[in-house]
Amino acid sequence: MQNFFRRLGIVALSLSLTTGVFAPAFADSQLLNVSYDPTRELYKDFNAAFAKHWKAESGEDVTIRQSHGGSGAQARSVIDGLEADVVTLALESDINAIQKTGKIKEDWRSRLPNNSSPYTSTIVFLVRKGNPKGIHNWGDLVKGDVQIVTPNPKTSGGARWNYLAAWAWANEEFKGDQDKIKAYIADLYKRAPVLDTGARGSTVTFAQRQIGDVLLAWENEAYLAGEEFGKDAFDIVVPPISILAEPPVAVVDATVDAKGTRKVAEAYLQYLYSDEGQNIAAKHFYRPSKRDVVEPDLLKALPDIKLVTIDDPIFGGWKKAQPEHFGDGGIFDQIYKPGK
């Protein structure tokens, strides 16, 4: 019996030895960029470019760690103590939530150009190859038997932008007639066979499970899906009017001051506005804030269209739009009845 336990002990010991022998590699400085889901590919490229740039500029090595998740959940983690040097999130309100705890100073939005949004994005349509349902504008989404795929605006940030983009078109089309706009939005969501909880879930529903005729998606997600699932499978349709999303970035003052990484963290965010940073953003189908420094070939995929911002009077900013449209009993709750 002792024999048996001795053997067990040896197994356990060797297991712990094999796993215990790893030590993290230490570079001169380390940054943690806490970001949201769709920016994985963008920052993978950008981090490599910045590390090279920083080495050339200061002679220091810098390692950048990434953390991705839902934008709101990521903000929550930073509030709870995740030691982000920089946050690059989907919504201004998520960074504001961190700012309220004092970890980010109040003036964060004015520290970098363009309200601290180095790149922007918009909502476009991903359709099946050849666009068999002839979808070119928001009005085409409610014609015939078209089925749309979009995540649930109650749970997904991206889905709210989809909804608002549709609203912006309808507002222009129906000249601000609230009843007609609501009827259009209601019709739109009746055509959604499933409402996934997040943007990536919807992409998989549309691209892999082959459900629906059109996916309302972030521009960058639409192109990425096209690349991942085969260019022959889908076409991207950019509608003449859509919404302008400005994902903001900020240095987390509390962390960089404690860690002594302020200089490199600030340089990191500023580099997003550099020629190289802007080109990398465009390469990943984010709309660069300085179009003139970006290679024209990259801009072809991102045509100039009318983009309505959340601060437009029809929405009145997130503080007003969030409860009005997406709060409990808000407009979305009034018009959307599951299973209808």
């Binding site: 002792q2 197994v11 356990a12 790893f22 994985r40 991705h68 709870d80 103590g81 995740l82 990536r200």
Partner: protein, 286 residues
């Protein structure tokens, strides 16, 4: 036993051929669909692009870090819960004391609450908004969004496995053997080592294996406390989700297959030990 058999009306195993066939068929089909097929498809997807891609996916630095972290967490959590489980079941099965029922309820707690809540408990305990978090931080101790937090959450979630396996077994065995040993002059330690432990070894092993499987596979609780920093606080289950969300199906399934493989190895180890140390082992000493 023989008394019982005489008064039973018929042999319980004496069912009609159709019934037997049906039962066997149902369980086989069930196993095939719910266990075998998914397992095969995981390995099929993982190797779809060949061995080289598979190897690359596992040796990719972030994936490799996730594998090491998962093994490290299991290597800490399992021994801790082994000690705790032994102590708790020993106390519960062999002694009478006040609050015993309460202790049993406490042990069951991780089973009954959602893993997400288990994670959130630690966020509340050690987060920036708590009393403990900033205090520990001032001494440079990081719990949340670091390895200690992941270990804590894993220990919490896997904490009933060993104890739950041992308590019924030890209660069943009663205290007779131990009393005999003590009355023959054995010390407490000797009694434990030579009498109690041999009696429970298979239950203990089974509990440890279950505990280990869960420790390596835990997703919910760990995802709350991990912070998902790639290469630092990402465990294998979290990494599988990340890869899947990046449309990197082959790599996702490669890591998933390794996770499945670790579980299979655990099972194989158990079977091997059983074969090696006696056939009567599986069911304790009944």
């Amino acid at each position: 036993m023989s008394e019982n058999r005489r008064i039973s009306f018929r042999n319980p195993a004496d069912e009609s051929f159709t019934t037997k066939l049906l039962l066997v068929a149902v369980s086989l089909v069930f196993l095939a669909f719910f266990l075998f097929l998914p397992l095969v498809s995981v390995f099929f997807e993982a190797f779809r692009e060949g061995w080289v891609t598979y190897e690359e996916a596992l040796l990719e630095p972030d994936a490799w870090a996730a594998i090491q972290l998962t093994l490290l967490v299991a290597a800490i959590a399992v021994p801790l819960n082994l000690i705790f489980g032994l102590a708790a079941s020993w106390a519960i099965a062999k002694f009478e004391f006040k609050g015993k029922a309460f202790l049993i309820t406490l042990i069951d707690l991780p089973f009954s609450i959602s893993p997400v809540i288990s994670g959130l408990v630690y966020v509340l305990l050690f987060g920036s908004g708590s009393l403990l978090g900033p205090f520990l931080k001032s001494y440079g101790i990081e719990i949340l969004f670091a390895v200690p937090g992941i270990v804590l959450a894993t220990v919490f979630v896997t904490f009933p496995f060993v104890a739950r396996e041992l308590i019924p077994l030890m209660q069943d065995q009663g205290t007779g053997d131990e009393e005999a040993a003590l009355s023959l002059g054995a010390s407490g330690w000797q009694t434990f080592w030579y009498v109690t432990l041999p009696n429970i070894k298979w239950g203990l092993l089974y509990g440890v294996l279950l505990c280990n499987a869960r420790a390596m596979g835990e997703f919910g609780a760990v995802s709350v406390v991990s912070g998902r920093i790639r290469g630092l606080t990402n465990t294998m289950p979290l990494h599988v989700e990340i890869l899947y969300n990046e449309y990197n199906m082959v790599a996702a399934f490669a890591v998933a297959s390794l996770l499945a493989l670790l579980a299979l190895v655990t099972l194989a180890l158990k079977t091997f030990l059983e074969l090696r140390f006696g056939a009567g082992a599986a069911g304790g000493r009944h």
